[in-house]
């Protein structure tokens, strides 16, 4: 029998055919390759969170190979001389070993920490983008709720994570956490002793936090992130209004090749930035803090940035205790309100917001077009109010450092925070509302009268007026261009947005292309180039 020649060129097609025979993937794959994504820089913020999460998983797995989640007391004898001979927990000793005795361990630890900070930051910024553009409206409420939950689950991931090294700083954080749990009415002491396995600190909390940090919480995060992305995919991304864009379509690029390529490149860039930060910027130098000892703390003990708002609320809360004179007497300590009740309210408000807004506006339609923040002043102002609230709390979380660096009385900082927390958010609401209205007004003005050219014309009767360049040349009645309708998108407000300057010449040191002519839009007369003029001066040359 004649042997058939092996044809390498036909191999991919043959394999693809064989795969499709078995799994029928051609049709779904075509749909996937073809899926259209709208593009805007602000749509990439959530991706930063996703990519940081991937880095977290990669570096985190590395760290588990060397970390020992145990509180058994050992005597340190690693290479970091200043701590040699110090009794400490095995967890802290192994964290020191990761930093000093595992080759490349320190950069992995620091990348892990920076990636966590970036993860939370990207979540917050992405959430603000979604909020201020109204991307959370129907049909995307579910994804908004999942997103807010991701913040809180990420918060837990961060807290359990930075408690693991069991150094002086993280032990203090744990101590405060146990105080917070104790403050819960009725069940506080039971919950605390159940979590810590007895009285604080016990011997088990580190191994419990470890399993939560490396299995339970990441599992939850992976599940939530998958559903989050799946819903973005299923419901298709929102888009800004613009030419050809409607509520019923998506205008953008197909997923392959350009969109996917850009995503891949962006992932590498995020990864690279985290690597640079992990290598160049020190974070959480646990060897300076020493092992956790219940009687040692230093000033300027701050948690990671996303926990600081809770620290701030705790600092600002006055020492109001509620005592209930029944039997031996019961207490609701002041710690309960800023650390248990406040986050509860925040979770409730943030997750329910889409429904609250829809109810208030009686708006139950599908929305796939985004809104500019200025066009919805009430929502934007509420958002600004929330941001102001958060910022005051976060700054108060570091008020001892501010007081120290700027030589302000610590008590004055606390009082400023207490007053600021009540005064600044409403102020932010009012100011934002007015700014939104002003911006709206200006958009309408430009649409009606055109762009300010900066050219002053003297009329025959001696008046001076500024020449406006109308945005349309179509003649309305009485010789003026008709006012254009606002369509929810950027209104050009500078002459070079209309092509008055012509495109920039490309090339860094020398032009690489002949400068193109300024584009002339059809039906729109080009703006005349500026006439060469002689300098009007005193006659004396300045040079």
């Amino acid at each position: 029998m004649k042997r058939r020649k092996f044809d390498a060129a036909a191999l991919p097609a043959k394999t693809a055919g064989a795969v499709d025979d078995r799994f029928q993937v051609a049709t779904p794959l075509r749909k996937l390759l073809n899926k259209v994504f709208p593009d805007h820089w602000s749509f990439l913020l959530g991706e930063i969170a996703l990519f940081s999460f991937v880095v977290l998983l990669l570096t985190g797995v590395f760290l588990t190979f060397f970390y020992e989640p145990a509180m058994t007391e050992v005597t340190y004898d690693g290479s970091y001389a200043p701590l040699r001979g110090t009794p400490m927990s095995a967890a802290y000793a192994s964290s020191l070993d990761i930093s000093f005795d595992v080759r490349g361990g320190l950069i992995m630890r620091q990348m892990h920490h920076w990636a966590a900070l970036l993860f939370m930051a990207a979540i917050v910024v992405h959430m603000l983008r979604v909020f201020f553009t109204g991307a959370f409206r129907k049909p995307r409420e579910t994804n908004w709720i999942i997103g807010s939950l991701l913040f809180w689950v990420g918060f837990l991931a961060g807290f359990t994570g930075y408690s693991l090294p069991d150094d002086g700083l993280s032990g203090t954080g744990l101590r405060i956490a146990s105080g917070i749990i104790l403050s819960i009415p009725v069940v506080g002491s039971w919950v605390s002793s159940s979590i810590f396995g007895g009285e604080f600190p016990g011997m088990i909390i580190i191994s419990r936090f470890f399993i939560a940090h490396v299995l339970l919480i990441p599992g939850l995060l992976v599940a939530l992130i998958s559903v989050h992305l799946g819903l973005v995919f299923k419901q298709k991304h929102t888009q800004w209004p613009g030419p050809g864009r409607t509520n019923e379509n998506v205008v953008g690029e197909r997923m392959f090749p350009r969109y996917a390529l850009k995503q891949g490149g962006f992932f590498m860039v995020v990864f690279g930035v985290i690597a640079l930060m992990g290598g160049l910027f020190q974070i959480n130098p646990i060897w300076y803090f020493g092992p956790y000892e219940a009687w040692v703390v230093s000033a300027a003990s701050q948690p990671d940035w996303y926990v600081m708002f809770l620290d701030g609320s705790t600092r600002l809360m006055p020492g109001w205790e509620i005592s209930i004179p029944i039997g031996d007497g019961y207490v609701i300590p002041p710690l309960f309100w800023p650390t248990v009740v406040l986050p509860g309210i925040l979770v409730g408000l943030s997750t329910m917001y889409p429904f609250l807004e829809a109810r208030r506006l009686k708006d139950y339609k599908h929305h796939n077009l985004l809104q500019r923040p200025r066009d919805v002043p009430a929502r934007t102002a509420v958002g600004a109010m929330a941001v102001a609230f958060y910022v005051v709390l976060t700054l108060s979380g570091g008020n001892d450092v501010i007081a120290d660096k700027f030589h302000i009385s610590l008590n004055a900082m606390t009082w400023a925070g207490r007053v600021g927390l009540l005064v600044i958010p409403p102020l932010a609401y009012y100011v934002t509302y007015r700014i939104c209205l002003g911006l709206q007004q200006h958009d309408r003005e430009v649409l009606a009268h055109g762009v300010e050219t900066g050219i002053i014309k003297r009329l025959p009767d001696g008046r001076f007026v500024e020449v406006h360049q109308p945005l349309t040349s179509a003649d309305g009645h009485d010789g003026h261009a008709p006012a254009l309708d606002y369509v929810g998108w950027v209104v050009p407000k500078k002459m070079n947005r209309l092509g008055a300057l012509g495109p920039a010449i490309r090339g860094f040191f020398y032009p690489i292309e002949k400068p193109a002519e300024a584009p002339v839009s059809p039906g729109h007369p080009p703006v005349e180039p500026r006439a060469e003029r002689e300098e009007v001066g005193s006659g004396e040359s300045r040079r």
Partner: protein, 362 residues
């Protein structure tokens, strides 16, 4: 899937036969997009093939990829040969992690920006429009699915045979409890075992023997060891007293100046603690009554003790009453005296609860 294409077909100009050999590859791609309700309305090369601009961009991208190769190689070289073990002073090991970060960062940024430039500058720009179809599902399908589910309920016949439903619930509810029981039962700890929340390491030993105050290094303390205006963190002189096993026991021993001591004594007497001080020495719990941090910043001039975590301030001369910040309860005071050998001992345990407040604190 096939229903989709069928319903799509009448929309387009006319169905395209993808097996037509005259079709270019791009035309087939366009037809595929059309079948997914996508119209490619604009498709434009960004660089003319073979132009100077294309060659230049290709070189730029290639350069970035090569930079990645160089940086990654440098990473490996540094990883293997650079001195990395910690040594005191300013050894080369201090540069190990920064150099790793720099080379790894450059390697990743090189490939990242290379891919980005490739995608953004060299690939054709396009504008495609895809229909969303998100205004609810097909009403007929809704109806069919709804009826199917109701049909399932009918077939199960829970309505006609209620006993089945009730007995299933009655059977499953304990199963759910079985799942929860080991978790809750295993974790739960009685918080008041051995009265642990209300006692510290200073509780007198079984024989009524009083517990000494010791330093961090374990030595007992004579009054002369603390100078006037000075303070010292002290621990119960028991097994594990200077460790986190007795995290609620660390105490601040303060030697007050004469006038402050008088104020303090007067305040003590108002509270019926006339015998809590010894001479001008006073001892307060170091564990903040707010959130449990050590309240350890003692300001000698004003006799205030500040907790650095949330800035609660306690006035030592007034029974450590909270005078600023979020704390609501004074720091508990330890009654002290000096034994026959001249060392400080605790006359009894604390008379109040140590540390953060909780519901059943009396």
């Amino acid at each position: 899937m096939s229903t989709h294409t069928e319903h799509q077909a009448p929309q387009g100009p006319e169905p395209v036969d993808v097996n037509d050999p005259r079709l270019s590859r791009f035309e087939i791609v366009q037809e595929g997009a059309r079948r997914d309700d996508i119209e490619i309305v604009h498709y434009e090369e960004q660089v003319v093939p073979g132009s100077k601009a294309e060659r230049r961009l290709t070189r730029t991208v290639a350069l970035m990829f090569l930079l990645t190769g160089v940086a990654a190689t440098a990473f490996l070289v540094i990883y293997i040969w650079w001195p990395w073990q910690w040594e005191a002073g300013r050894g080369g090991d201090k540069l190990y992690t920064p150099l790793l970060g720099l080379t790894l960062g450059l390697a990743l940024l090189g490939v990242g920006f290379g891919i980005l430039t490739w995608g953004k500058k060299l690939l054709p720009k396009e504008v495609s429009i895809q229909d969303r179809h998100d205004q609810g599902g097909n009403p007929e399908d809704r109806k069919i699915t709804g009826e199917t589910m109701l049909y399932l309920a009918d077939e199960l016949g829970v309505k006609r045979r209620p006993l089945l439903g009730i007995s299933l619930l009655a059977g499953l509810a304990p199963v759910g409890a079985v799942a929860a029981a080991p978790l809750i039962g295993g974790l739960i700890e009685q918080p008041h075992k051995n009265n642990q929340m209300f006692t510290t390491g200073f509780a007198p030993a079984e024989g009524g023997e009083k517990i000494r105050l010791i330093r961090e290094d374990g030595r007992p303390i004579r009054p002369a060891d603390v100078s006037v205006g000075g303070q010292l963190t002290v621990f119960p002189g028991i097994e594990g007293g200077v460790s986190n096993r007795h995290a609620d026991s660390p105490t601040l021993l303060i030697h007050l100046r004469e006038d402050d001591a008088q104020k303090s004594r007067a305040a003590n007497e108002r509270k019926g603690r006339g015998d809590f001080m010894w001479g001008n020495y006073v001892a307060f719990s170091k564990i903040c009554t707010h959130a449990g941090c050590p309240a350890s910043l003692y300001e000698q001039q004003t006799n205030r003790l500040l907790c650095p975590c949330h800035q609660s301030q306690f006035l030592i001369t007034d029974n450590a009453k909270p005078i600023f910040g979020p704390a609501n309860r004074p720091l508990p005071q330890l009654p002290i005296e000096v034994d026959e050998e001249g060392f400080f001992v605790a006359r009894s345990d604390y008379t109040e609860t140590i540390g953060p407040d909780f519901w059943e604190r009396p």
